[in-house]
Assembly symmetry: C2
Homo-oligomer: 424 residues x 2
């Protein structure tokens, strides 16, 4: 029986013990050739395919328990695996295996007048904790991103996905073992211990970074309680400001896409700011309404179309994640900037204008993780940014901002090569 499920350990001891094993495994992982890590990920993908039947059977147990427990249809859908989804998970591992390895990359290099050669070299962060909810694919995705960047990972999934996660984790472990990679690099925190999440959040010095993956209440709890640094975003209250010099067709296309392509993603637009001098405002508003979006506006937005409902003060700070949009008419760029400074969650904000100077002022003055000109906020995504994958999108101000992938899961060390120099 593994110490990880030793019932004698209290939650703090359990996490401490798992973290020590993770640290030891990570030290080996940090030194592995990229090819070895890739081989482990490909072996894990092969294992997932090989034990498809077992994983789907385990998932069926979770689905049955979820139905008994009365989980919502949306939650059951997030939980459910089928051959296509499982193949997607396996394929994602292979895609991550093919990404360039950031570990060992030199960020910069200099030679000091005394001959010392200095370089900052990327190294893994160390031990990463992932706290997530019902999606079993996170077990594989997050493990793969951590492994590919040389980090060990403690995975704490939702109790509703316990059988699925155990089955996926077993397949990952088999893949790691097959490739000669220490299996303690990817550990599953037992869900029966509800206090383990609190222990992870408190494990400063043992866990180096926590990444919550899930709904707002999970992220809020993690951000409020963690003594370990957290990489996350709470809200995506994203704005699109349509300036008076916007091309009407582009503005309409961007607004429709930003709001309605997928309403449930964190990059979806939640507030549209229409310049008071924009000629095409009514057309944009009508197009959104006719596409099925509920609009909640300030007085001037309501005056554009009788179908716009009056907004309440709360609307400007609400992430709808639905076919609902708040709309305000603003008096020029400075008013738009002021609205955004007050209400943006610092995730993604965009301007639409054919006036280059207006765009550049917007890009310079909006202080969000992602700022865009003449594009849909729905591009806020690691894959779209060419990162190959993402562990999440961060709106904090330190370490990594916006979509975070392998590079964001590394730190650096200073490497100094001398020939006997002493300091005068």
């Amino acid at each position: 029986m593994s110490a990880a499920v030793n019932p004698v350990l209290n939650p703090d001891e359990l996490i401490a013990e798992m973290a020590v094993r993770a640290r030891l495994a990570q030290r080996q992982l940090a030194l592995l050739e990229p090819a070895r890590k890739s081989a482990a990920l490909r072996a894990a993908a092969a294992q997932l395919r090989k034990v498809e039947a077992q994983i789907l059977a385990a998932n069926a147990l979770d689905i049955a328990a979820g139905e008994t427990a009365g989980l919502s249809g949306a939650m059951l859908d997030r939980l459910r695996l089928d051959p296509a989804r499982l193949e997607g998970i396996a394929h994602a591992l292979e895609q991550i295996a093919a990404l360039p390895d950031p570990v060992g990359q030199a960020i910069d290099f200099s030679v000091r007048p005394n001959g010392l050669e200095l370089s900052r070299v990327r190294v893994p962060i160390g031990v990463i904790g992932i706290i997530y909810e019902s999606r079993p694919n996170v077990t594989a995705d997050a493990a793969a991103l951590c492994l590919a960047s040389g980090n060990a990972v403690l995975l704490r999934g939702g109790s509703e996905a316990v059988h699925s996660n155990r089955a996926i984790h077993a397949a990952l472990s088999a893949g790691l073992a097959e490739a000669g990679v220490p299996v303690d690099a990817v550990q599953l925190v037992p869900v029966q211990d509800r206090a383990a999440v609190g222990a992870m959040l408190a494990a400063a010095g043992q866990i180096d970074l926590i990444v919550p993956r899930g709904g707002k209440s999970l992220v809020a709890r993690v951000q409020a309680d963690a003594r370990v640094p957290v990489l996350a975003h709470l809200d995506g209250i994203n704005h699109t400001y349509v300036h008076s010099a916007a091309d009407p067709d582009k503005a309409k296309a961007i607004a429709l896409n930003a709001k309605l392509r997928r309403t449930g993603v964190c990059g979806a637009m939640e507030t549209l700011l229409l310049d008071v001098q924009l000629a095409g405002s009514q057309a944009v508003v009508a197009a959104l309404i006719e596409a099925g979006c509920e609009l909640r506006g300030d007085a001037r937005a309501c005056a554009l179309d009788p179908r716009v409902l009056p907004a309440s003060a709360n609307d400007w700070d609400t992430e709808y994640l639905d076919a609902v949009l708040s709309v305000a008419v603003v008096d020029g760029l400075d008013a738009a900037l002021a609205h955004i400074a007050l209400h943006s969650s610092g995730h993604t904000d965009a301007v639409v204008s054919d006036d280059q100077a207006i765009c550049e002022r917007f890009l310079a003055q909006v202080d969000s993780a992602i700022v865009m000109a003449n594009a849909s906020t729905q591009f806020a995504d690691g894959g779209e940014f060419g990162l190959g994958a993402e562990i999440g999108i961060a709106t904090g101000r330190l370490h990594a901002r916006g979509p975070v992938a392998l590079e964001g899961l590394t730190t650096y060390k200073w490497v100094v090569r001398g020939s006997g120099q002493v300091r005068p």
Copy 2:
């Protein structure tokens, strides 16, 4: 009367109010031309020189109060200003004014297949809190580094330096005002409110980063209590491993310099690891003892020289900051790596060897903020690394590691330039 000293505000309200003003000032600061920030720093330097008499008079009040309060000689020395020290402070501002501005620098650039142009651009972190002790020069140094990197700063110095800090802060404010830079960018937290430190540490979302500058107890308190990210190092338990293939003269020179050049700096060597096959161990040990260093060794180190005292278990985890050194004899590189993994504080560790492969293995496998080959650990310093200055040395694993200067006081945002792209 400024709201900052409004006696009606409790400490949390006081810090919140100062942080709001800092944030507003910072938004302007973030957009300033480099030349304007430099002009403000040069004007502040000129002001410091102009009001030299007032600053020295204020400092005399602090020194008198410190003597009455029975401060130690070392503490009084850290507190004391004289014309030469004040000129040094003014000159440091001018040096920081001359550093390249990191704000606006593009970290990378790419064009996606859909034509979106992506760039990560450095931006200031935001509002930085500096918590420090008796050295009044920190008031000017830290303010200048924050200002030069576009950050607003809340300065909380020690109560023993209250008059000096107020006088220096007044000069800085005058310089900022003269250059048209918002004076709320550099604010002094009133010392009469002892609870203000706790309020700063709790001000997550209001203050973006805390940098403690002072002794170990201050740093430990800040690290233990802060809900705001902290950039710091607690200890500099730095090792030098002298491999069997080390040049004897280089090894001796490096060991003497790493330990004794200045014993009170965080980059000083605290533990010497001598390879069991190193021929020159006795000479290194003798040279250190004859230079006035107390050596505390394990059994094999004691056998090298009768003047080596036996070490206790504690010695391997002690930062002496004095002419005291722990010495162990180790069985090759792997034993040295194991000792360092167990006892290093992750600050600076070095190897001395003419065997390049040994050096490279050490540099790869030691996971400290700074790793060195064939150089004195005393080079662990922002100035020596060519950074021009440093706000501190960080041993945390996120954001910035090792010496931190202007670049480490920035973060980045993603800037996306499109031409009407929508996501399929």
